[in-house]
């Protein structure tokens, strides 16, 4: 009698996944074009009709949970003091909450930067800077600048706690919508993003959804509880850790190649594995997400091919025609579907580059230091050499018969020896496109979500 419906309002498709709670199985999935510009419920209803038509015997839907990345998803600006420290911590808080971080500033904000912030398409600003008890002069300067600019977006303050009271006064006086949370880097190199992430989600639920015209959906779906990328990260974490007596998969990675971005999620500590390796830099989050805005199959195709020389491109593909033209076609026509074998080959090459480059940027790196006691190594970022599972998701991988071939690009490479990439993982594909849905389901039924993922990732 009870079917839990999970809804993902994506940028292109509204996707539904129906789960039978008693029989512990996925009843069916369906999708329809997302309709943000007219009425977001049209797309939802279309998908619903499809689901009902293909599964006429489906039981009554007793609960619905939804996530969204429609209308551009959640876009944030991250501001901090030192680039490698509080700026990075602020960025990680945003990324972990499922946001796209396209505006990043360090040190004292300049007039030019304030102007950029005003013109940028952002939903929330995260303001950090200084450890607790550390530098407060910079964050105060930046708070004043932001207050003077009279920005209309909410600001989350996650910096030096010593500056909180003064910032509160500054923002109160200027009628800025602000939220004060724990410092994202309370001590040097210590990452603390939990509270910031929670507040980002709260603002997303209460404000952003409305501003983007998705609020209407809630009449039928109940509250939209998180941005889609966060749901994927939660699903990945559940699958890795397990829940009570349901065992997890252990350390794993999820790679999601989309039209505009490539997201990589890894679950695992990634600590140095040998005694001569010393960890450097900011603490890594156990569940880490990175997003590459220049790596995508359609909208970002131009940016992507500009990263590789024609010679390098040949390492990925046997495509013979003009690379620039092929990329332009995809950039200008984001709904493009390749038909000929050659065009399919070009798409495969793009996907491989997305995989390879996003991996280079996500994984940790080692650097040799020659000491009087012999070679030592610095490690920055996560050591992912022992990652056991790599899971591919996103339209490109799901619909590609060579998906696992593409995923192999994440592996360790002879020309990238210093990157701590997976060595011999098992590749799985999210065939039914259920990861975000399982993240949503996992909020209430973690065990069932893990079981279903184990069953359907292949």
């Amino acid at each position: 009698m009870s079917v839990h419906l999970l809804v993902d309002f994506g940028s292109t498709y509204t996707k539904l996944t129906a789960v039978d709670l008693e029989e512990e199985r996925i009843v069916g999935t369906s999708k329809a074009m997302t309709t943000v510009k007219t009425n977001v419920l049209d797309g939802f209803n279309n998908a619903m009709d499809k689901l009902k038509n293909t599964h006429p015997d489906m039981k009554e839907i007793t609960a619905i949970s939804a996530c969204s990345s429609a209308a551009g998803g959640l876009k944030m600006a991250a501001i901090g003091l030192v680039e490698e420290l509080t700026v990075e911590a602020a960025k990680r808080a945003c990324l972990g909450a499922g946001a796209l971080v396209n505006t990043v500033f360090s040190h004292h904000l300049s007039r030019k930067e304030i102007k950029q912030l005003k013109n940028a398409d952002i939903d929330i600003i995260l303001l950090a800077g200084g450890t607790d008890g550390g530098n407060k002069e910079c964050i105060l300067h930046n708070a004043k600048k932001l207050a003077d600019a009279k920005l209309s977006v909410p600001i989350i303050v996650a910096g030096n706690k010593d500056a909180q009271d003064e910032i509160e006064e500054i923002f109160e006086a200027s009628n800025i919508e602000y939220y004060i949370v724990e410092n994202v880097m309370p001590k040097l190199k210590q990452l603390n993003v939990k509270e910031a992430k929670e507040v980002i989600r709260q603002i997303f639920i209460t404000k952003i959804i409305e501003a983007k015209g998705i609020k209407k959906a809630e009449e039928q779906t109940g509250e939209i509880i998180m941005p889609t990328p966060e749901a994927v990260l939660i699903a990945a974490e559940l699958l890795a850790k397990g829940h009570e007596d349901v065992e997890g998969f252990g350390e794993l990675m999820v790679i999601d190649i989309g039209g505009a971005t490539t997201d990589v999620h890894t679950i695992g500590a990634g600590f140095p594995k040998r005694s001569e390796v010393i960890f450097k830099g900011l603490q890594e989050p156990f569940a880490k997400r990175t997003v590459e805005g220049d790596l995508g199959m359609r909208y970002s195709a131009n940016a992507l091919v500009s990263l590789v020389s024609p010679y390098e491109f040949k390492q990925y593909s046997s495509y013979q025609h003009d690379i620039g033209e092929a990329a332009k076609k995809r950039h200008e026509n984001v709904d493009y579907l390749p038909e000929s074998d050659e065009e399919k080959e070009f798409d495969r090459a793009l996907a491989k580059i997305c995989c390879d480059y996003s991996m280079s940027r996500h994984v940790g790196q080692v650097e040799v230091v020659y000491t009087p006691l012999g070679n030592m190594y610095y490690q920055t970022g996560k050591d992912l050499t022992d990652i056991r599972y790599v899971i591919g998701t996103g339209g490109v991988l799901i619909n590609n018969e060579n998906a696992k071939d593409i995923l192999r690009e994440v592996n360790q490479k002879s020309n990238k020896k210093l990157e701590l990439r997976p060595t011999d993982p098992i590749f799985l594909i999210d065939q039914l496109y259920i990861l975000s849905a399982m993240g949503l389901l996992g909020q209430k039924y973690p065990k069932l979500a893990i079981k279903l993922m184990k069953r359907h990732l292949e």
Binding site: L85, G130, T131, G133, G134, L188, M376
Partner: protein, 134 residues
């Protein structure tokens, strides 16, 4: 509470003295930010910026300290913390050299206090109190 950034600079992994310095300074009521062994100038400087440090204490025991510390004061100035106190100590030069001369060289490089091998940390603490006006 005054904040002191400590660490071992360069390709130097001598961790024992570093731990002793951390222990004693903490006991003496300082907020100690330890960047640890194998630290670059940037590691010290970035830590000092974020924590609003009053002094940076650089240790070096493997003889290459002079090269590792080159332009450290200039780099602090560039990073906007030109007034931070810079201390250095250990086996900071190659071989046996006249310490008076070594001290002069490091002072010229912008270090406020320079210590020879075998210095007691208590001596440096007395200087800290004086330099930080405690």
């Amino acid at each position: 509470m005054k904040t002191i950034v400590i660490g071992v600079i360069g390709a130097d992994v001598h961790a024992v003295g570093n731990k002793i310095i951390e222990h004693v300074l903490t006991e003496q009521g300082y907020n100690v930010v330890n960047v640890g062994v194998l630290s670059t100038q940037e590691d010290f400087i970035h830590a000092a910026i974020e924590t609003d440090a009053d002094a940076i204490m650089v240790s070096s025991l493997y003889g290459h300290g002079e090269i590792d510390c080159k332009y450290m004061r200039e780099n602090c100035v560039e990073a906007g913390i030109g007034k931070v106190k810079l201390y250095v100590g250990g086996n900071i030069v190659v071989g046996k050299q006249d310490f008076k001369e070594v001290e002069q060289r490091f002072k010229k490089m912008g270090f406020d206090r320079v210590y020879p091998p075998g210095t007691n940390i208590e001596d440096a603490i007395a200087h800290l109190r004086e330099d930080l006006g405690e």
